[in-house]
């Protein structure tokens, strides 16, 4: 059986699944329940300086549903912990003492002044926790006060605060990054330059989930007004995966430990984050929707998949897909595929036809009896038909072997790899040696 235990920036946990800094980790009661359920670690909900902040007293969450009210995304306007600092510190200490084998990381957010960090860090260290995570990510509320994403959007501030923390604690320092920037590599490089032990991402995405068309108020509505919130859940996973991969393959940050966050709902999501370079994953929305019991599916699924693939430890998975993330310009233009429709599997809904005919390349013919066939002369292999087909594996993309003629271009498919950098249509193409 695969060993799921991890040692991430020196922080040990029995499995790579941590609960992210958020409502599920706001207090002792919840965290004990999480550890009893089997979670490997928690990032305690962000602490700040007293006097503690206050939250709105109306709804904090907005939601985007899929079919059958399946939660695809949640946004929130909740701030950091709204309990006194001392209360949180006492609880952290008790929990860590009772669960020494679990990872307890404490998320922090104080003003961008060194005294503030010097004041809080010793108190946090005193709890016996395993590390700290700097919340440079929250896009709402706190950012208006110069904290959270307001820091995370300025690489210089990231580096500066990270340096203060490294200078004032011996604990491992994780920097939690905001996705509300144009290029995630810059804040990651800043964290790295500041001496961060690792980065965690993504924090939530600035968002308005919906508008109440009767009251004309954004949701969640507080007395008829709304404020943008932070979006999370399965809907943000593709954005998070890309950002994780960008950092993992950036030469300047290569090897920097990454705690992957963003829509992890099943073991498969977790495995994908790991493969793109994460050494641990953090979960919030899935736990908020389904409760802590999902940890059993996460660990069992990941373990079984690793056994099936022959991976014996998490570090064998971490970063395994990173070499396959590349720039568009390096994609093989001699890789030629055509859509193929399995007529036995086809249920004749015609969605492939509508998609191709209306919005793509008119490469599917509709024949009498609702028989749908690919027209190779027109098929550019875009994959849209595969994506919209309701039957799994009914439409597949089949590669043309070297030597075959692409009916669309009339050209013989070449065996050699060739990309845009050497393509004759590229004005900057390098001449073949």
């Amino acid at each position: 059986m695969a060993d799921l235990s991890t040692n991430f920036v020196g922080i040990k946990s029995p499995n790579p699944f941590w609960l992210a800094s958020a409502p599920p980790t706001d207090k002792e009661y919840n965290v004990r329940r999480a550890f009893e359920a089997g979670w490997g670690g928690v990032v305690w909900k962000t602490l700040g300086l007293d006097p503690h902040i206050v939250n709105v007293n109306g709804p904090r969450y907005g939601v985007v549903y899929g079919a059958d009210r399946r939660v695809l995304g949640i946004n929130n306007i909740e701030l950091i912990t709204d309990r006194p600092l001392e209360t949180n510190l006492e609880e952290i200490k008790r929990v860590k003492a009772d669960y020494p084998d679990r990872a307890v990381i404490v998320s922090l957010m104080v003003p961008c002044e060194e005294w503030a960090w010097k004041e809080i860090l010793p108190k946090v260290e005193d709890t016996g926790c395993d590390g700290i995570e700097l919340n440079f990510g929250c896009p709402h509320g706190m950012s208006e006060r110069g904290m959270g994403a307001a820091v995370g959007q300025v690489p210089e501030y990231i580096q500066m605060v990270t340096e203060w923390c490294k200078a004032n604690t011996h604990l491992p320092v994780l920097v939690k990054l905001t996705p509300n920037i144009t290029d995630i590599r810059y804040p990651a490089r800043a964290a790295h330059a500041g001496g961060a032990d690792g980065v965690s991402l993504i924090n939530t995405i600035s968002s308005i989930t919906s508008v109440n068309l009767d009251t004309m108020s954004p949701e969640p509505s507080i007395d008829g007004k709304g404020s943008h919130g932070g979006y999370c859940g399965p809907a943000v996973k593709p954005i998070a995966l890309n950002m994780v991969a960008e950092i993992a393959r950036d030469p300047e940050t290569a090897g920097l430990p990454i705690s992957g966050i963003g829509g992890v709902t099943t073991w498969r999501d977790a495995a994908e984050f790991l493969s793109l370079g994460a050494g641990s994953v953090q979960v919030c929305t899935a736990a908020m929707v389904y409760g802590f019991g999902i940890i059993k599916e996460l660990t069992a699924g990941l373990s079984d998949w690793m056994d099936e693939k022959g991976y014996t430890s998490i570090d064998q998975v971490t970063g395994r897909a990173v070499p396959n993330v590349t720039d568009w310009q390096y994609l093989n233009l001699n890789y030629v595929t055509k859509a193929r429709i399995d007529q036995d599997a086809c249920i004749k809904c015609g969605r492939c036809y509508a998609a191709c005919e209306d919005t793509s390349h008119q490469a599917i013919a509709m024949k009498p009896g609702r028989v749908f066939e690919v027209i190779d002369e027109e098929c550019v292999a875009c994959n849209l038909c595969v994506d919209v087909c309701p039957v799994e594996d009914c439409i597949t993309m089949e590669r043309l072997a070297p030597g075959e003629v692409d009916a669309r271009t009339g050209k013989v498919v070449e065996a050699d790899y060739a990309n845009w950098t050497t393509h004759p249509n590229n004005p900057s193409a390098k001449a073949a040696e």
């Binding site: 079919a67 059958d68 009210r69 249920i347 004749k348 809904c349 015609g350 969605r351 509709m366 609702r370």
Partner: protein
């Protein structure tokens, strides 16, 4: 409760009133909002969808389901009513398992079609619950059209004519409008007085007058109508019932299934309706199933449907057959009635087995008897009292195109006219299309 299922003969109150009421509750209860959203989400929005082709009224089904998905059931209803003004009743009584839902690609894929009928009901209920009528009468044309028969064909025809601005008078022989919707469909398919509510809602368009108690032949003549009106539409249905041609069919306890169903529909306290201990229904269509199931629901101890051909030839769908079986109705195939035995009233019925021979169905010579104090004949209806001067096609009024009869100015549709299945939805389509043709003829 004085009687039980075992009470001999034909007796009322075999079950207590509460149980009867429960038995006759909605066969397919209405979706709530969430159920409707989940059901709607299963639709694939097929290109040139097969369900549309399968619908006799060609409702744009994927569109109306998408409108439900988008939280706009009233818009969905409008999509339905544009094609089928009796979409509410059709949602309840259509044999969807042989029409749209049979064609649904998810039926082919997984044997579980999108529940189009129930979704249609959800949408139409939502709009009708508002009490408003979504169509306005067109500018008055001054043309007057007589519609004979206030059943699905006549109502659909009248409504479409009213939309075009014509004045319409509907005549019906019965004391209430609705035709088979009101008198001929199993109670559990259209509960809560829906048929009358639907007629009232339909008539809100205005420009339609209903005159009940006026039958063609006795109270009206086609020639007089043709003199008085610019056009006549006949949607008179099939009033006659085929004879059993079995010895003793005049004995007490032998009745027409359609009369039993009509009486049942017009009885407010169903536990007061007498039903036999041993009921035998002869026939293989929806009427046979409706009569048999309802007999069982009233408390008959033993109910049997006997059909002279094999199961595969039965015109009642497999869903209907299974419904009957699930209610405890026994189905016997390849058995034709020979003699009703009994002293004055039926006590037993004797059948002879049949098989498919070289010259069609032939008796095998083997007979059997089953107890029967009530026998319902459900072996098909026939055109009765068709006006003179109309050419018939077999036993129906011959029509071409959109219901044109052989007489000028006279159209026909629904069960009385040739072509198409004898279904509510087919009648609606024929009535609607005849109205369009009448309009073209009148305004041309």
């Amino acid at each position: 409760m004085s009687n039980s299922p075992q009470t001999p003969g034909i007796a009322p109150a075999r079950l207590d009133a509460e149980e009867v009421a429960r038995n006759f509750s909605d066969l397919h209860p209405a979706y709530d909002d969430h159920e409707a959203m989940v059901a709607a989400d299963r639709c694939y929005f097929c290109y040139d969808a097969p369900c549309i082709t399968a619908c006799p009224t060609s409702i744009d089904i994927p569109l109306f389901i998408r409108q439900i998905q988008a939280g706009h059931p009233e818009g969905a209803a409008k999509t339905i009513f544009d094609q089928n003004i009796l979409g509410g009743m059709c949602a309840r009584v259509c044999p969807t398992e042989t029409l749209c839902e049979e064609a649904c690609v998810r039926e082919a894929a997984e044997g579980k079609p999108v529940e189009i009928g129930r979704l249609q009901r959800y949408a139409t209920d939502a709009l009708m619950a508002r009490g408003q009528h979504p169509y306005e009468r067109g500018e008055a044309t001054g043309k007057r059209v007589a519609v004979v028969g206030a059943g699905p064909a006549g109502l659909a025809c009248a409504h479409r004519l009213a939309m075009k601005g014509h004045d319409v008078v509907i005549f019906d022989a019965r004391p209430k409008p609705g035709g088979l919707n009101e008198f001929g469909i199993a109670t559990y398919k259209t509960v809560g007085g829906f048929a009358q509510a639907e007629v009232d809602w339909l008539l809100k368009i205005g420009g339609i007058t209903v005159e009940t108690g006026k039958a063609l032949g006795s109270d009206l003549s086609l020639d007089a109508l043709m003199d008085e009106y610019d056009a006549v539409f006949l949607g008179i249905g099939l009033q006659g019932v085929n004879a059993l041609r079995a010895e003793g069919e005049d004995k007490g306890g032998v009745a027409d299934a359609v009369d039993f169903i009509a009486e049942l529909r017009q009885t407010s306290d169903l536990s007061s309706l007498p039903v036999g201990r041993n009921v035998v229904v002869i026939g293989g269509g929806m009427t046979a199933v409706d009569a048999a199931v309802q007999s069982k629901l009233l408390g008959a101890e033993n109910v049997t449907i006997a059909y002279r051909r094999g199961r595969d030839r039965m015109s009642a769908s497999r869903f209907e057959q299974d419904l009957a079986a699930s209610k405890g109705v026994r189905l016997i195939f390849n058995a034709q009635p020979k003699t009703v035995h009994g002293n004055g009233s039926a006590a037993e019925i004797e059948f002879e087995y049949t098989r498919d021979g070289a010259n069609g169905l032939e008796p095998t010579g083997e007979t059997f008897r089953i107890a029967a104090d009530q026998v319902f004949k459900a072996i098909g209806q026939t055109l009765d009292g068709a006006p003179n001067g109309l050419t018939l096609d077999g036993n129906k009024i011959a029509v071409t195109g959109a219901g044109r009869t052989t007489r000028d100015k006279v159209w026909a549709g629904g069960d009385c006219a040739s072509g198409g299945d004898d279904l509510t939805v087919t009648a609606v389509a024929e009535g609607r299309d005849a109205a369009e043709d009448i309009h073209t003829a009148l305004m041309g």
